[in-house]
Amino acid sequence: MALSDIELVTLAKATQSEAAFAELVRRHQAGLRAFLRKFTRDGAQADDLAQDTLLKAYRAIQGFEGGASFRSWLYAIAWREFLQGKRKSAANDRLAREAAPDADDEIDHSSVSELSIDLQRALASLEENERAAILLCDAAGMSHAEAASALGAPLGSVKTYVARARERLRAALHAEAAPVNASPAKPELAATRSR
């Protein structure tokens, strides 16, 4: 039977077991990177952040007290790393809202539906806190409390961010849909809308 995250953390703490931490890395790296990629829209930056996060988590594992889930603790490190990097870096412009994803983004657009591209655009139009909150709660499936812990924000604020983000996404996707419906160029989107 597979060990739970908390059991693996306990094992990693008690025995300084690299194998236990390795299992945690295997279990959470894809989700963490997916979140960071969706959030930053920059594959390279997201992977750098994820790498720093996981190395920091390894060093700080003794400090994990189990008050929150391991996942939200990990994402909290990532969020702090992002904020720290943002403060330090003069390259904030990379995060400026652009209509299209970056050229070096590793997303394989050939396999991404038009709807997904609309979704990326709509996500990009959100404020950072809103985007992070809705990605954590709606996309990654965290509870509001977990997301609040990860973002270091009050629970009420996270609920507000999520509600506001949904509202803005709805408006953005609706606006994207209007010209699409009139044009046969995006049949997939039109088909999805009509389902």
């Binding site: 390795a22 990177r33 190395l55 709606d138 996309a139 996404l169 609706h174």
Partner: protein, 120 residues
């Protein structure tokens, strides 16, 4: 004009999009790269600790004679106390400085090992 999307529909879109991305990243080389980095750091740390430990041991060995001399004063008192205990007492008194010096070094080594274990 189409009706606006429901919250559930938005959540479903986000969830599916996220799941696709997550599945795409699940089996690439990222995890093994992180684990190699961790192993490399651990090996580097082990080398540093080993070198520092060897230097420390050499230094401690060099201090052994000095420490024995410092403890020889204690052996005089110990000898006086054990003088009435025959040959065994005299042998113990003669060994006392070496024993005390060895014990002091053992305590230092144990304390260092304890600290390193917590750090590792």
């Amino acid at each position: 004009m189409e009706p606006a999307m429901s919250d559930e529909k938005i959540t479903e879109l986000l969830k599916n999009d996220f799941a696709r991305e997550e599945a795409r990243l699940e089996n690439d080389a990222f995890a093994s790269r992180i684990l190699s980095l961790l192993s490399a750091r651990r090996r580097k740390r082990a080398v540093i600790i080993s070198v520092a430990g060897a230097l420390g041991a050499a230094f401690a060995g060099a201090q052994f004679v000095k420490m024995t001399g410092a403890f020889s004063g204690a052996s005089v008192l110990f000898g006086a106390a054990t003088g009435r205990m025959g040959e065994a007492g005299h042998a113990a008194a003669a060994l006392a400085p070496q024993l005390l010096a060895a014990a002091a070094l053992a305590v230092a080594v144990a304390a260092t090992a304890h600290v390193l274990q917590g750090e590792a």
